[in-house]
Symmetry: C2
Subunit: 440 residues, 2 copies
């Protein structure tokens, strides 16, 4: 009862080649698990020179085309694998393929984060499945787990280290005392950052991924504009060091989603986590997702979040699952990702979040400054848990006062800091970093 | 197009009650994710007094029965949830339910580990699905991930902390310097160990779970008798301390599966892992599974491995998935767990494994002993990487020599140790603990 499943691959870059490599390398495993044969029928890339890689994998040159319609309009193709990335023309191609009744496997986080509702309603309408495991944390099966394995839970929070580039940079800054610019250069040198790493560094890559995780969790699209975002560009090495040496915190770029039952809180920003917490041990290019569900309690997924073969692992696993269902004639007869486009999610304003905070104030070295500063904080309902005053400033420099607050409202602490920054005894603008303590 | 899915629950103990509680608490989430309504039609327990818990959950007493046939033979029941545990009569009930065409959700690791092939061939024959997520690591979706999300990979190794009771005991022994007996008592006191914890402590519970993980991975039954097993009953607090203080290792009860492409290596025993490795940070009652796949690389799952609600999380997530497919009339039309009963797995003998080892030798305190001991080891192709001689013995006591070897063959090192133990200058029997360094 075995039929052959035909794949049409769009985008023959690094991940595309990884997929072809893995399909060949593990062909027998894939046949055993899918119960069918999987065949690359077509590969499309606008760059004709990429056809050169085909014979490495024993594929005939006839498989290659530069014309997208030869994939989308080919009725032999069961699954379209979209790996070109970016919103356009990927969106157009994907919607056309869906309308032609092709199932989709994609790694395209930017497209999904922006056009979630459109894609999944169109897929629903045409009874095709869109599989997206590779779009977040590569090979870590986090989408499937949130969508199915943990589906009995109300998800209370997700804390993710979702971007390998920034995690690599922060690890270098904290373990080797590099400044941001040198750590970024090193990340580029060793292939952990692209030439243009701006979407990693400014947090937008993590925002895209958080939107996907959240939208899977809530069964409705979380809009990009609903996610508060800060990158790591302005993180100073000295804050990483003070926070660790004085208070035991480790700095990570966290993607945070919390649900208190009334509103959701979604944001991406640098955050301090306790040194004893598992998330603090996730170093270098690794990713992790820490989840709290009302039944399952706390759990974590850890692994590589990028790279040719980890991404191929997710894409090919999706292909196996789809192929098995196509072969048994049931693909598309039950929905996979459910998206209710009517559902409105109430999102919390960043001013209303409550957290502990790390603050660094650059005081001109003279008595009385701590008393003034803590007075202003107190007037705004911010109370200090712990303070560290650096004994000696640089010659004629400012002397930093480092503190950690008790839980406070963000709107209040920001007002207090803007007042503090205007005090004559305070030098440069104060630094504020949110603290995230998952066990509290 | 919504129909109601009827559940028949067998076994109304802790997990059974957790399932009923979760079905009620998260009813709206469950309805949204399954696209259908899920209803408890029948609960069977041989102890009639357990019916007393029903009204807590708004269930009528008519739902309860002590007669198993009222569940198995009721043609309204779509899914039988087997939570009685143990091999018999659970096996008999499950096979009967399968033959009647009921889909199954079970948490029964002992039954699955022993009768894997029989259960899955019977399920195949009758086109029903057997879902087993709760049988290993409770709510951590490790079965689904190995079976689907990571299915494109050849799995090179699995290292699991699969038993919460022993992990709790070992954490107490290492962090609070307790001896085994006191740590076990404390585990019982705080509910992390049953009154009879023998199957936890002797490693058999972890063996059952490893058999399940391995059988899912290879698509064929790994037999219980193929798994080498040692428990933690004989672990001395002093070895935990020496291994950590002198060499930086942390002791865990590890379930290990390795595949070199020729034979598989499956075993459960105490093992030392490097203090910097993520597995070493998995403390108390938590579980973790560290996996290396040829495409995905290294990854880890972490979470609670036991307890009423974590187990209910897995059971109810399986119910949601099955209900969705039953409602769309596709349940059982594609296989879930594939079991090839013909396939023979070649299993490595423990004598042929190669590892680094921690050794403690009780020498009578006199010069020359180290030279004799290292001589014997050398004759058996075991070379020493690092040695630590305790300066002073107890008055008239033995003086321990602690060492870590380079990689050696287990058969060789055991022969050497039995020779060393017969030397006149050596006191008590030597201690041997395997070292597992996942990154090497």
């Amino acid at each position: 009862m075995k039929r052959t499943i035909n794949l049409g691959l769009i985008g023959f870059g690094t991940v595309g080649e990884g997929v072809v490599k893995l399909l060949k390398k593990n062909a027998s495993v894939i046949e055993r698990k899918s119960g069918t044969r999987v065949r690359i029928a077509r590969i499309c890339d606008k760059n004709p020179r990429r056809a050169g890689a085909l014979n490495k994998y024993g594929l005939s040159r006839d498989v290659f085309t530069t014309k997208i319609n030869e994939v989308i309009n080919d009725d032999n193709i069961d699954i379209v694998i979209e790996l070109i990335g970016g919103c356009e023309p990927a969106r157009k191609y994907m919607l056309e393929a869906i309308r032609k009744g092709r199932h989709i496997v994609t790694a395209n986080k930017a497209l999904l984060a922006e056009h979630w509702s459109e894609i999944f309603s169109e897929a629903d309408k045409h009874k095709v499945l869109v599989y997206i495991e590779a779009s977040v944390c590569s090979g870590i099966p986090i989408i499937q787990s949130l969508n199915e394995g943990l589906s009995a839970n109300k998800i209370k929070s997700i804390l993710g280290i979702l971007n390998g580039t920034t995690n690599y940079i922060l690890t270098k800054m904290s373990k080797e005392r590099m400044d941001f610019a040198s750590a970024l250069m090193e990340a580029k040198k060793y292939g952990f950052a692209e030439t243009d790493a701006s979407l990693d560094v400014n947090g937008m890559d993590a925002v895209n991924k958080l939107v996907i995780l959240g939208s899977v969790t809530f069964g409705a699209h979380i809009k990009l504009s609903d996610v508060y975002c800060e990158g790591i560009e302005n993180i100073m090495q000295e804050d990483i060091e003070y926070a660790y040496n004085e208070f035991g915190y480790v700095l990570k770029l966290l993607a945070i989603l919390k649900n208190n039952g009334k509103a959701i809180d979604v944001r991406v920003h640098p955050a301090l986590v306790p040194g004893g917490h598992l998330l603090s041990s996730v170093d270098n290019e690794y990713n992790a997702v820490y989840i709290e569900g009302d039944a399952v309690g706390e759990m974590m997924f850890f692994g590589k979040g990028a790279g040719e073969m980890p991404a191929a692992s997710a894409v090919v696993s999706d292909i196996i699952y789809l192929s098995k269902n196509i072969n048994n004639d049931i693909a598309g007869r039950a929905p996979y990702i459910i998206c209710n486009s009517e559902k409105k999610l109430k999102v919390m304003n960043i001013k209303d979040i409550r957290a502990k905070y790390y603050i660094r104030i650059s005081s001109v070295d003279r008595p009385g400054v701590l008393s003034r500063v803590s007075g202003v904080l107190g007037e705004h309902n911010v109370s200090i848990a712990s303070v560290y005053q650096v004994a000696q400033g640089k010659p004629r420099g400012d002397v930093p006062i480092i503190m950690v607050t008790h839980i406070a409202r963000e709107g209040d602490i920001k007002k207090a800091l803007s007042k503090i920054d205007r005090l004559s005894m305070v030098g440069k603008k104060s630094i504020l970093i949110r603290i995230e303590e998952p066990n509290e």
